[in-house]
């Protein structure tokens, strides 16, 4: 299988199958359909690497990341999504919540506003 991340972050490659998702709604879906054990494994793997990830990505122009770096950024967005259950809720979904299936996360960014 070909590598999806920059070589220096090959240790995070095993998480791509589950966590590398291009959109907010997909990343949130992965988060809320995971159990806490899965979330903790991902969180524990990325947290010690997060500083190096950001320093690596900062070397590239944000609007024009090479594909492997874009993947690393998207995986980092999934990490941010996964920090919430681990650091805040001790639960994949928000503890006292509005039903997630009735909360629509749209991907029409830039168009905004429709309902």
């Amino acid at each position: 299988m070909t590598n999806q991340l920059p070589a220096a972050f090959a240790d995070l490659e095993p998480f791509c199958a589950k966590w590398l998702r291009p959109t907010e709604s997909q990343r949130n879906q992965v988060r809320i359909s995971s159990d806490m054990a899965e979330l903790r494994v991902f969180y524990d793997a990325v947290l010690p690497r997060f500083d190096a990830v950001i320093r690596h990505l900062n070397q590239f122009p944000l609007g024009d990341l090479p594909p492997a770096e874009q993947n690393l950024l998207n995986l980092s967005f999934a990490f941010v999504e996964a920090t919430a259950p681990v650091e805040r809720f001790n639960s994949p979904i928000v503890t006292k919540t509005f039903p997630p299936e009735r909360f629509l996360i749209h991907e029409d960014l830039g168009r905004s506003g429709g309902w």
Binding site: L57, L73, V80, R88, K96, F98, F103, W115
Partner: protein
């Protein structure tokens, strides 16, 4: 309007007081009857006396940058679908999306680009300015006056790129006059440098005003947000730092405990980037913190009746609350952030998106229960504390408008 009272301040604790940046209207002090969130008859009066009398925000200019760009919006409160379109002259106009022949919708897509609107039913053609340009077999309409059959317009104007419409094509009050000094307080904010980063909607089985209440007081932050915002479990966080009233509109500044600790992951992101949601200690302050509060986090700006534009350092978000009926509301949220320069900035911003979204899940967890309680007739009134004064202001203003006494 009753005589304004002199500004006062509430010394809640030795380190914190709630200030008023404007005179406080005399809004009474008793409990608020629940009838205005449960009564279908009251809602019908709101439709006529509030929503058809106020400027309403429906979009942003970036959505329609070029001539012929348009979007449509379903406005249940008007029992109408509207189309907002940029003309060849660059002006933004709004029309009821209804053919003047026999009422077919003209634009059937959510958005697009067109040279004009041709009705799918019998082919009447309208210009981007709404004028009726073509009627097939016009000779079969003897005496037809095309100038009277242009699209039905709404008034349309913009403020800082936000598009507003008014039911009355010739409203008595301009948008600028309607928005007044609250909009002027916000004018310096770099809206034009911001990027749209999130869009959420939900249909909530609750009255529109009750839905708004969940977002315009900070009293609940202490308890409801103790998970989404660790460190919120401190009463002082729940105190507004200042409150201002501007006719029907209101603004509440929230303060940030200076010792609130970022989570381990946030701390790493904030080393490399700015603009986090709970990171308010640096950056551009234009258009923010109008009362000059010492400890300040963000401003909740509520334009009556249904538009929020909350401003923080490097980010803002908006809510629209669109009533469908007295206990059915479509909630719409958009988040915007100053364009990130680096991946570090972008990842710090990602915490804004995720933390805000999770916080909103908590906010929205309560309102359907409250609606049920009031609909049941068991709970007949709302008991309002002084830190919830924005809630009292909303019911007072709505009631004044409904009864033809617009403050």
């Amino acid at each position: 309007m009753n005589a304004p009272q002199p500004p006062v301040s509430y010394p809640f604790s030795p380190s914190h007081a709630m200030k008023f940046g404007t005179p406080v209207p005399d809004m009474g002090s008793g409990p608020i009857p629940a009838e205005s969130v449960t009564s279908a008859a009251y809602f019908e009066r709101e439709r006529e006396q509030i929503f058809k009398q106020a400027w309403l925000q429906v979009g942003r200019v970036e959505e329609i940058p070029n001539a012929g760009d348009y979007f449509t919006r379903e406005l249940h409160v008007f029992k109408s679908n509207i189309v907002v379109v940029r003309g060849k002259d660059g002006a933004v106009r709004a029309f009821h999306n209804m053919c003047t022949h026999r009422g077919m919708a003209l634009a059937t897509e959510a958005c697009g680009n067109t040279r004009g609107f041709t009705c799918e039913f019998h082919g009447w053609g309208f210009g981007l300015d709404g004028s009726l340009q073509a009627v097939p077999a016009i000779e079969s309409f003897p005496g037809i006056d095309r100038s009277r059959l242009g699209l039905k317009a709404l008034a349309c104007d913009t403020w800082n790129g936000f598009i507003f419409v008014h039911w009355n094509p010739q409203p008595a009050q301009s948008l600028a006059d309607f928005m007044g000094p609250l909009a002027r307080d916000m004018d310096g904010f770099p809206f034009d440098q911001c990027q749209h980063i999130a869009h959420y909607t939900a249909r909530v089985k609750a009255n529109w005003k009750l839905s708004i209440d969940a977002f315009q007081e900070a009293y609940h932050a202490t308890y409801l947000h103790r998970h989404a915002i660790p460190g919120a479990g401190d009463l002082e966080l729940a105190l507004p730092s200042s409150v201002r009233f501007y006719g029907p509109h209101r603004s509440v500044s929230c303060w940030l405990k200076t010792d609130i600790q970022p989570t381990p992951a946030e701390a790493i992101a904030y080393k490399h980037g700015s603009f986090g949601f709970v990171k308010a200690d640096e950056g551009d302050t234009r258009g923010l913190n109008p009362s000059g509060d010492e400890s300040w986090w963000f401003d909740i700006n509520v334009f009556f009746p249904n538009f929020f534009c909350d401003l923080g350092r490097g980010w803002y978000f908006t809510y629209n609350f669109w009533p469908v009926s007295e206990n059915d509301t479509i909630w719409n949220m958009n988040i915007y952030q100053v364009q990130a320069a680096t991946a570090g900035d972008r990842l710090a911003q990602e915490f804004t998106r995720v933390v805000l979204r999770d916080t909103v899940f908590e906010d929205m967890s309560t309102m359907e229960f409250s609606q049920k309680a009031f609909d049941s007739g068991v709970i007949t009134e709302q008991t309002i504390g002084d830190t919830e004064i924005a809630v009292r202001h909303q019911y007072w203003v709505a009631d004044e408008w409904v009864n033809g006494r617009r403050p």
